[in-house]
């Protein structure tokens, strides 16, 4: 029915999709899994028309089509339920459902609200949601909003002839367990009306729901497995594409840490609404990994160490002393360096060049009475460019123009050159290609050898296991279990997952 043939998509520096074949039949639920950066979201964007493929063809019922935008894709029956919910929260449910398609209810320039409400109710019945369509969306729970989104996409049914294909992008990430089950049973029922493409990083869910599963890795479809033939281990291997390689995470370079003193000490620390009763010590040379799902409190702990959140209970000590004034300036002054997840937003300043970015957190060291010593700044930048083999033509290059890996190196160089010895790394390898990831792993080991302590929120569980000396598993802001991970005796994936969910 809907088919991609050898679809290619390239971005500067990244070959995001490599000759991808994909098809979905009527009433089918197809799962799509892969690691972050494997190309899932690019593939979805091609499917619903946000991106145009550079090569290959898209066919609907055998006819080749080319979507210039999502609206055209919708006209061919392809709808998307967004992961970041796309409902406008200050509008009512029915306004959201018919957003952009109000014309059908307009008579003489006036919207017939009764008719719209009736039509909206009809859509809501499809997803078994019994709410008043004139409710303001912000009053709904996340699960209800998810269903409204689904109902919104299902309006396509009336609007177009032919079959529907609905993409569900991580639909379960904000749902509770029971809600997930409800959603699944609903999706199964709706297969009489539409086909579904189900994208999730939760392998168990994908396996439970899907008829067939596409496994992606590095922009390629590496396997297609039928529901009955699916086997978690096999898929896992396909996804990662290798035995979890000891070399890859530089385990051979992992040295024991110095347990005699603590760089960061959390004693029964809690931040209201984020996490509570968390205790741990971070030692020099240690990689301490926080593991948990989104919203388990990992990021909030990093932000607390960096002085961006004020603990409500317990004590936080950085190098033996609590914060006097809880703010980032003091954290930086104490030697804490923060590598945030959103590199573009919080990592490097677009429009500032390499050396300016590198000295941003330590300008005081390169200035006398507020006047900068630019020569020294450049020398510093050149030294670190060499040391970390940052690929940039010169120190004047706008950091926004560097590749993700090199940007990340600049961020790390910023903190390392400033003498930081407590590093908070939030998804440091997100969006990097393999080579760049390995560079980051090398750097983490180097920093440990220099006596730095690292608190890591890893991009994947494998990464967490491979890199860390210590793993803390969190769930819903509560501490679950602590694992030690010396080389050669690492906990397994399943050990962790068991405590995470």
């Amino acid at each position: 029915m809907y088919q991609l043939n050898k679809v290619d998509k390239k971005f500067p520096g990244v070959h995001a999709l490599k000759a991808v074949d994909f098809k979905i039949g009527r009433g089918e639920i197809v799962g799509l899994i892969g690691e972050n950066g494997a190309g899932k979201s690019t593939l979805m964007k091609v499917i619903y028309g946000a991106y145009q493929p550079d090569g290959g063809t898209v066919t609907v019922d055998g006819k080749t089509v080319r979507f210039q935008n999502p609206r055209q894709a919708m006209d061919h029956g392809i709808g998307m339920v967004f992961q970041e919910q796309s409902l406008i929260t200050n509008l009512t449910v029915m306004e959201n459902i018919f957003l952009g398609f109000e014309r059908q209810f307009v008579r003489f320039g006036v919207i017939n609200w009764t008719a719209m409400a009736e039509a909206a109710r009809h859509q809501l019945r499809k997803v078994k949601l019994d709410i008043d369509p004139s409710t303001v969306t912000s009053k709904l729970s996340f699960a209800q909003r998810q269903l409204v989104e689904l109902a919104k996409v299902l309006t396509l049914e009336e609007r177009i002839d032919g079959d529907l294909v609905i993409l569900l992008d991580e639909p379960t990430s904000v749902l509770a367990k029971e809600e997930v089950e409800l959603l699944f049973s609903l999706v199964r029922e709706l297969t009489s009306r539409a086909s579904f493409i189900f994208v999730s990083h939760r392998m168990d869910e994908v396996m439970e729901l899907s008829d067939r599963i596409y496994v992606m890795k590095d922009g390629e479809v590496v396997d297609v497995v039928a529901h009955d033939a699916a086997n978690i281990d096999a898929i896992q291997h396909k996804m990662v594409g290798r035995e979890v390689d000891k070399q890859y995470y530089r385990e051979q370079k992992q040295r024991p840490y110095d347990g005699s003193k603590a760089l960061v000490r959390f004693d029964r620390v809690g931040v209201a609404g984020k996490f509570n009763d968390i205790s741990f010590d971070l030692h020099p040379g240690e990689v301490l990994c926080l593991v948990g799902t989104e919203g388990s409190g990992r990021e909030a702990i990093l932000r607390t160490i960096f002085g961006l959140e004020k603990p409500g209970t317990g004590t936080v000590e950085i190098k033996g002393r609590p914060f006097e004034r809880t703010n980032a300036q003091e954290a930086v002054a104490r030697g804490v360096g923060y590598v945030p997840r959103e590199r573009k937003v919080e990592g490097i300043v677009n429009g500032m060049n390499v050396y300016e970015n590198m000295t941003l957190s330590q300008m005081g060291n390169y200035a006398s009475k507020g006047v900068l010593r630019i020569g020294e700044e450049k020398a510093l930048a050149e030294e670190w460019i060499k040391r970390l083999s940052i690929k940039t033509p010169d120190v004047y290059k706008d950091c926004g123009g560097l590749s993700g890996g090199n940007q990340q190196k600049v961020v790390l160089a910023k903190w390392r050159s400033g003498g930081s010895d407590i590093f908070l790394l939030d998804h440091p390898t997100r969006g990097l290609d393999i080579g760049a990831k390995e560079d980051v792993y090398d750097m983490i080991r180097e920093m440990c050898d220099d006596g730095a302590g690292i608190v890591l929120v890893a991009d994947t569980l494998e990464e967490a296991i491979g890199l860390s000396h210590t793993i803390l598993v969190l769930k819903d802001g509560k501490f679950q279990k602590r694992f030690a991970g010396p080389p050669g005796d690492k906990p397994s994936l399943y050990d962790l997952v068991h405590h995470m969910i």
Partner: protein, 332 residues
């Protein structure tokens, strides 16, 4: 793979060309304008005429530089009209009170006016940061307060500054240009120094380029903001001094039109309103564009309303160009 590489090259090549175009467009516009006016009226291209343009532009340049710093931070300062008026009037009162000639202690009125500007800017920044009022609202309100204050101080009168020594800013010429042009030049260099060579200037860019990031780098963003408004206030004061030097009158109306002129100049010069991009040289070019148009239109004999239209179109063009530049950074 080879195919990918060539595609990449073409891609970056295009964006660099576009960036370069955007970067140099204001200067190009300035040169084209000058060439156009010169062709229409050869007398446009004379030292005396350039001196006239620069005399008119000097006060506005100072004000525009002040607001440039604030715009680089991603905020906006609309208090310039009030601040300029207050500084001009405060200067005039202080100057006359201390003797009325630069050859006496009355020279102290110069730093005093700058101090007044600094204080107004500081208060402005404090209101913006501490009360968490959007900068355009806080500064607009401060501007009104300033105009009102100047009104109360003068009671609606004009104060003439006749001191020949002070007026030599206008009357004394070196190489055909009056002293005030050189004074403006010196302050332009000071601004450039602040922009490129001081932690403060770097911080302006950091805050404008990404406030979250500036916080995550341990910068005291609030302090930077308040200082930014303070520096802007000082430059407004310098603008006020030059305005008084040019006309010889300090009054509530001294600040009139500076808001439109300076914001237009900053935008036309290519400094982006959302911060992080641009600088004092952009502003110099922008101010020159605005005043070359003002002068050139009269010189070639076009009516005034055409002037305003042309300026409006330039502002739109400038914004379109710099917006394109931003969206490029969104392209993956």
């Amino acid at each position: 793979m080879a195919k990918t590489l060539t595609a990449d090259k073409a891609g970056t090549g295009f964006s660099i060309r576009r960036e370069t175009l955007v970067k140099w467009a204001p200067l190009l516009v300035l040169i084209v304008l000058c060439a156009f006016f010169a062709v229409m009226e050869p007398r446009f291209l004379s030292t005396r005429n350039f001196a006239r343009i620069l005399i008119a532009a000097s006060p506005a340049l100072m004000v525009a530089i002040g607001v440039t710093f604030v715009i680089i931070m991603g905020s906006i300062d609309l208090s310039m009209e009030g601040t300029v008026s207050v500084c001009a009037v405060a200067f005039a009162f202080c100057f006359l009170w201390l003797g009325g000639t630069l050859a006496s202690w009355a020279w102290l009125a110069l730093p005093f006016a700058m101090l007044v500007g600094a204080v107004l800017g500081f208060v402005n920044g404090l209101i913006h940061v501490k009360l968490r009022i959007p900068s355009f609202m806080a500064s607009l309100a401060m501007g009104f307060v300033g105009t009102g204050l100047a009104m109360v101080m003068t009671g609606g009168d004009r104060i003439r500054i006749e001191d020949a020594l002070f007026r030599s800013l206008l009357t004394e010429r070196i190489l055909g240009f009056p002293l005030m042009v050189y004074v403006a030049g010196v302050f332009l260099l000071v601004a450039w120094f602040i922009q490129t060579r001081t932690t403060l200037g770097r911080n302006f860019y950091a805050v404008g380029g990404g406030e979250d990031l500036a916080i995550a780098s341990g910068l005291n963003v609030n302090r930077v903001r308040v200082l930014g408004f303070t520096v802007a206030g000082v430059f407004f004061a310098v603008g006020a001094l030059l305005a008084v030097g040019r006309i010889g009158i300090a009054e509530t109306a001294t600040g009139n039109n500076f808001m439109f002129l300076s914001i237009t100049a900053v935008v036309v010069g290519g400094t982006a309103l959302w911060g992080g991009v641009g600088g004092v040289w952009n502003t110099l070019v922008g101010v020159l564009i605005v005043f070359v148009i003002g002068n050139g239109m009269v010189v070639i004999g076009l009516p005034g309303y055409v002037q305003d239209g042309v300026l409006g179109i330039l502002v739109i063009l400038a914004v379109i160009l710099s917006t394109d530049r931003k969206s490029i950074s969104f392209v993956k």
